[in-house]
Symmetry: C2
DNA sequence: CTTGTAATTTAGTCTAACCTAAATATATTT
DNA sequence: AAATATATTTAGGTTAGACTAAATTACAAG
């Protein structure tokens, strides 16, 4: 049998992977929200993905889905494409941090394995994309992420920024302005018990910045 | 109204443009052959393209189609994407002459205008792609081509290669081997009345080569 | 000017992926 | 434990773009 993995199936798998990373199982509604389609349409597709050969998801009515091994491989393939593309667009065409996402979302489905390999080669086989997200390896293994939210640090702790959540372009632009980008070092000058704000000294920047919980939960660091 | 120009419509328009360049009107069968689909499917699409708003083709039953101004603009947009992409892939990812075509065929439909502009900029606004095909300008005008088939030259004439037909990868590899690539100078050493063969001295190559009609009709030069 | 062939069109189907509305299952609150 | 709210599924429908088979039109050759 071996049914074809269409572009929309790739999109489903990618988002299910990301939902699985956080929650566990991915719910019909969450998937629908991410794909901007009606929940009813998602149900139909999940049934199809579960009964394809080989099955790409494990699906129990009313209980969401998880990826099978095959589903995960297919998802990682797309994610590798996406993250390599983001890196490539920033490095070779001067795209900025916040502009690459939409472009990569369209390109990820159409590039060949050859294109993927040539990009990886040209970029020196990077392990993270411009936002610091880990890039699955060529044999489709997702490296483990050792980083923790900046929000979990306390006064006098020092760490290196590893990753920044990429789903809000405005936040990305802001972080770029205050110098919070991957591989930059920072130190917590103060932690406020009251509201969870952190006062941060960013290496290379003159003045300290105060960041709220909402932001510090989207920045990931290694001590 | 302004209906959306889907990927397959883009493909139809691109091939109709190319058929119009040679023949005049594009026939149902020719289009079907190029797109690898059944002629009956083409008829349906042509009717749709002719009655869309604005109309993209002029269609008279049993007499093939030509592009309208709107159809031509849409076609040139795709062709510009394609040719810039080929140039980009060769220049920045080390693709060879004969490998770029398939990749560009998929990418041409999904890149943004921004991507197009960045490529053009990075490449220094090239006027020809790696095979020497003219690239439509940013405002979608196809430059006029002054070149003529190598087959039309006679003994002792000298010319510069401008373009090579790109639809046969094997031919492309052969031409690369004997040094026949755009901007290379060559001289006709002999013309054979009998079979139309040309004996050619290619600048930078030690030994002369003899090329038959089939090949010399696919190489375009300027004297 | 008729007849055979090739090109084209019509008519009717199919599939993928979406939709809406209604039905049902699950979860939450009182 | 019932009542309500929320999440999910079912049922039925739409659209784009392909298909095959049959009908028609155009064209070329005797």
């Amino acid at each position: 049998m071996v049914e074809t993995i269409t572009q929309s199936i790739q999109d489903y798998l990618k988002h299910i992977y990301e939902l699985n990373e956080n929650g566990g199982t991915a719910s019909t509604n969450d998937i629908a929200a991410r794909l901007n389609i009606a929940p009813a349409s998602v149900t139909g597709m999940l049934q199809k993905l579960a009964s394809s050969n080989p099955p790409l998801v494990v699906y129990k009515k009313h209980q969401g889905v998880t990826l099978t091994k095959s589903g995960e491989k297919a998802a990682l393939e797309v994610i590798r494409h996406h993250r390599l593309l983001e890196t490539f667009l920033v490095n070779t065409l001067g795209y900025s941090w916040d502009e690459v996402h939409r472009e990569a979302d369209r390109l990820e489905h159409v590039i060949s394995e050859d294109f993927e390999a040539r990009m990886a080669e040209a970029l020196g086989h990077p392990t993270r994309d411009p936002h610091g997200e880990l890039i699955p390896t060529a044999d489709l293994v997702m490296p483990t992420d050792e980083s923790c939210p900046l929000a979990s640090l306390r006064t006098d702790e020092t760490a290196t920024v590893k990753r920044v959540s990429d789903d809000d372009p405005a936040l990305l632009r802001h972080l770029r302005e205050i110098g919070v980008i991957p591989e930059v070092k920072l130190t917590v000058k103060n932690y406020s018990e009251f509201d969870g704000n952190l006062t941060i000294k960013v290496s290379g920047q003159k003045s300290n910045v105060v960041l709220g919980r909402t932001i510090t939960n989207q920045i990931f660091v290694e001590k």
